[in-house]
Symmetry: C2
Subunit: 203 residues, 2 copies
């Protein structure tokens, strides 16, 4: 059938555990790869170009933006951060699904710039569960947690802009749900068109 | 989450084995039900109203059409045949997925009249396989088979109007593919909106 991998946008509020979900998916190295971001900040000790980040000069990054070569970007502390389109497209050509683990603002940009991307919003079972997780880290004051909850609620309000909503109640179930989505998405007509053409080519 | 079942349109060319696939799905009686058609033809010996068909008078059927109460219909030998909307909607309210096993013209009508329906086109692996199956029945002349192949090719050309394309190479794989699609479809945002609202209702 179609050998191309999927562009998988995995997003959700802070504290929902999307990092753990992505780490679990990446255990299937043959199936999944993770996107490498570009940035204009300086490399830190031990960071490798093309592995941790693509380290670019500011004018190089602006060129990417102007040529529609980033799927999303943002600025933070005077530096650009973004997802280079070419790296994503080259990776799916190898047949792997590329994971973009990304916060909500960036995800909404990718949903627009890459219409074939499969976007998944990871939800907590309840807000109380999310609050427990944020509190459980034990590293933040009540004020900081209240602020994060406020942000999280704003993010959850964007959930309906994604293709799928998956609940991270149990890690295994959540990862399985995502794998089911991937299998079904590969059977979507848009990805089976070449097969249909191939069958008809023998007429 | 969302307890409503799916409206599942299962279609494909004659000879592709969609009847066998549907029979296999229906073994899970808790999950699946099959749609009951309405018709204006007379009941045959042993046929039960509401089980084999809903037997209607012509003016009753025309009323259904005029009130947008059939998802699709056709006439055959001066009789109407069609899929009543109310029966479909009542069935999905029980949580079961309702299967509409339907030929291509009818399926294309349902895709329009019921935008939330999940439409699946079952494909043969190759045209040669389909021809073998049609020949294998051993009941038809070459002329009839050639005519059916011609029709099948016309139907396959409509495959891209469906949501999904599934290959019936092995029955088990085909049935599994459909079950994966159902699981993923239940996680589609449109079916998770109530859950998102519920989570946010505790703010």
């Amino acid at each position: 059938m179609n050998k191309e991998g999927l562009v998988l946008v995995i997003s959700g509020p802070s504290g929902v555990g999307k990092g753990t979900v992505v780490k679990e998916l990446l255990k299937s190295q043959d199936e999944f790869a993770v996107s490498v971001s570009a940035t204009t900040r300086n490399p830190r000790e031990g960071e490798q170009h093309g592995k941790d980040y693509f380290f670019l000069k500011k004018d190089e990054f602006v060129d990417l933006i102007n040529n529609d070569k980033v799927l999303e970007y943002a600025t933070y502390c005077d530096n650009y951060y973004g997802t280079p389109r070419d790296y994503v497209e080259q990776t799916i050509q190898t047949g792997k699904n590329i994971i973009l683990e990304i916060e909500v603002q960036g995800a909404l940009q990718v949903i627009k710039s890459c219409p074939n991307a499969v976007s998944i919003f990871i939800m907590p079972q309840t807000l109380a569960v999310l609050q427990d997780r944020l509190t459980g880290r034990g590293t933040e004051t009540n004020d900081v947690i209240a602020k994060r909850m406020h942000t999280a609620i704003g993010e959850i309000k964007q959930a309906t802009k994604y293709n799928y909503v998956v609940v991270n109640d149990s890690l295994d179930d959540c990862v399985n749900d995502i794998k089911q989505i991937i299998k079904a998405e590969k059977l979507r007509t848009i990805r089976m068109e070449n097969f249909v053409k191939e069958v008809l080519s023998n007429v």
